[in-house]
Amino acid sequence: MKACDVVTANKLLLDIIKTNLSGEALNWVEAWEATPDQINGLGKAFVMAPRKTGKAIVQPSVLQLAALEDAGLANVSQWSIDRLFRVWLLGNLPATAQDKLYAAIDQLFLSAEMNEAVALYSALPFLPFPAIWAKRCAEGIRSNIGSVLEAIMENNPYPAQYLDEAAWNQLVLKAFFTEKNINLIVGLDERDNLELALTLTDYAKERWAAGRKVNPQLWRLVGKFTNEEIFEVLKTGLQHYDQVEQRAIALAVAASDYEPAKDYIDTFPELKAVLAEGSLSWDKF
């Protein structure tokens, strides 16, 4: 996210927090807003948040919901109030002393329980100096905790914007391995690359060798890079005569300039017909 977008988003998050809290919890949030040295008090406020805010799922108003959608943050409407508060808390820290801020937040990562880890990774796109967390984000992808991986991989604009290619490719590959919802990865198509396409075709071959199915979304990241080597793998897939797989491969090849693959697809009348019809799209797999 751009810096100005973060400011707008933080305002919106605070607005939702305040309309979802009352009484003592609301006073606590307002007292925090007025705290002069927030970095010093960060650890305690972050850890205590659920005791103060509760853990109910937030209920944004119709207007807030529309604003969330405009900001590309529609999924926030499914967050619990403690997660939302923690993300706002981190995103709203003063962007002054970078080293001090890094040390304070890094300490939270080092002793995070599951829900804290989810909030920390959800907060990455909102943090001041976002670039300094690229390594931490790559480390998070090594987690085996489902909810933590989802916080990084799904509906999170941070990885696509800040991870280098190797870390990004690891994220995508691990998302397939751990059966995450590929459609929810932000920047999936924008960050496709040949290296990832080759790794994914190897992965598909491994799955086939084990007698397992391949997620059709995988071909979406392969098609554009079709070359002689990849074409051989696609042919194997087409010969499985699994309709979903065949259609996914056909749609992938449609995005490529590799003529032999296009010609080969045309030898399947059913695939040629659905492509001509234009009814296939990645959202439908």
Partner: protein, 328 residues
């Protein structure tokens, strides 16, 4: 933890074992307030879930050999609130923990000083339901020092305390633990005295503490003795746990004891109190236990997909068929 024992000798002493028939208590829910899951396998988690264990507490303890550095403690505490909590959730079991410096390692004073500094980072975390397990092992001066410091920490944080009582010189150790807790101004009702036996239970209950019993083969309580204790003292402020760990122990100790109580004529109400309710009453004083998290009507259908995902929300693990030679 135990010495080596021969199955043949046990059979000679105790006769052929009676089979555990879970159907006697099927439909009952159990809460194991002391079990060291980091030392157990996924088979144990599966068996506990099958037997009706819906929630558990994992106290911080020593790992069978002493830690030599602060980071080992930090990573261990982190694993209790992170990875182990997640592992448990995969089997539909709600995982809580207590955090503390155990008595054995309190004897390493230079390290204990450092551990005391990081404890406040962990005790306020979600799902931390007490300070524990702390207390005496050898009953040394160092153990007493860190026991007292942690009682003060519990008082400040408003958390219950889970107290380990020593294997050796148990009766005096238990009395001393209670005396010191009262001296520090703690309410006995916020303290769970663990590993009781016939010799300690009366005084613990008379003084208003919760009395926990560890059903652990060879070295602690057997569950037949446990049935007699509940018959004699009633179910109030009594709870049973497995304390299953890296030694020969039984993660099904709580449901098995419930089944035995049922077969020996204790009422369902009494069984529910000592194998579920009393533990919740005691540890919920932390404000960190919401019974709805594990008491909701459960319908875990392994085939249900979440957003097209074959793994259930929270990562419920698919079941493997252990009786099959085929692993796929």
């Amino acid at each position: 933890m135990c010495c080596s024992n021969s199955i043949e000798r046990d059979k000679a002493m105790m006769g052929e074992p009676e089979a555990f028939d879970i159907s006697v208590v099927s439909g009952m829910k159990f809460f194991d307030p002391h079990v060291h899951m980091t030392s157990r396998t996924t088979d144990d988690y599966q068996a506990m879930a099958d037997a009706g264990v819906v929630a558990l507490i994992e106290p911080a303890f020593w790992l069978g050999q002493p830690r030599t550095g602060l980071d080992s403690f930090r990573d261990y505490y982190s694993s209790l609130i992170g990875w182990e909590r997640f592992r448990s959730s995969q089997f539909g079991i709600k995982h809580y923990c207590t955090i503390g410096l155990n008595s054995r390692e309190a004897n390493n004073e230079s390290l204990s000083e450092q551990v005391m500094e990081i404890l406040p980072l962990f005790i306020y975390k979600e799902g931390v339901v007490g300070i524990g397990e702390i207390g005496f092992d050898d009953q040394t001066a160092a153990e007493e020092k860190y026991y007292r410091l942690q009682l003060e920490l519990a008082k400040e944080a408003g958390l219950p305390v889970q107290i380990h009582t020593p294997h050796r010189d148990k009766k005096k150790g238990t009395q001393r633990s209670m005396d010191i807790a009262i001296e520090h101004g703690l309410d006995p009702y916020s303290i769970i005295i663990d590993h009781n036996n016939e010799e300690t239970v009366k005084e613990v209950l008379d003084r208003g503490f919760f009395a926990a019993f560890t059903i652990y083969p060879f070295t602690k309580m057997g569950n037949e003795r446990m049935v007699e204790i509940v018959k004699q003292y009633g179910p109030e402020r009594i709870m049973v746990n497995s304390a299953a760990d890296w030694g020969i122990s039984d993660p099904l100790a709580v449901p098995k004891t419930a089944a035995l109580m049922k077969m020996r004529g204790l009422s369902n109400e009494a069984i529910e109190l000592v194998t579920y309710r009393n533990a919740i009453t005691a540890f919920a004083q932390s404000g960190q236990i919401d019974e709805a998290d594990f008491n909701a009507p459960q319908s875990i259908d392994q085939s249900v997909k979440f957003e097209g995902n074959t793994i259930l929300r929270g990562g419920q693990q698919p079941r493997t068929d252990k009786s099959s030679i085929i692993i796929s």
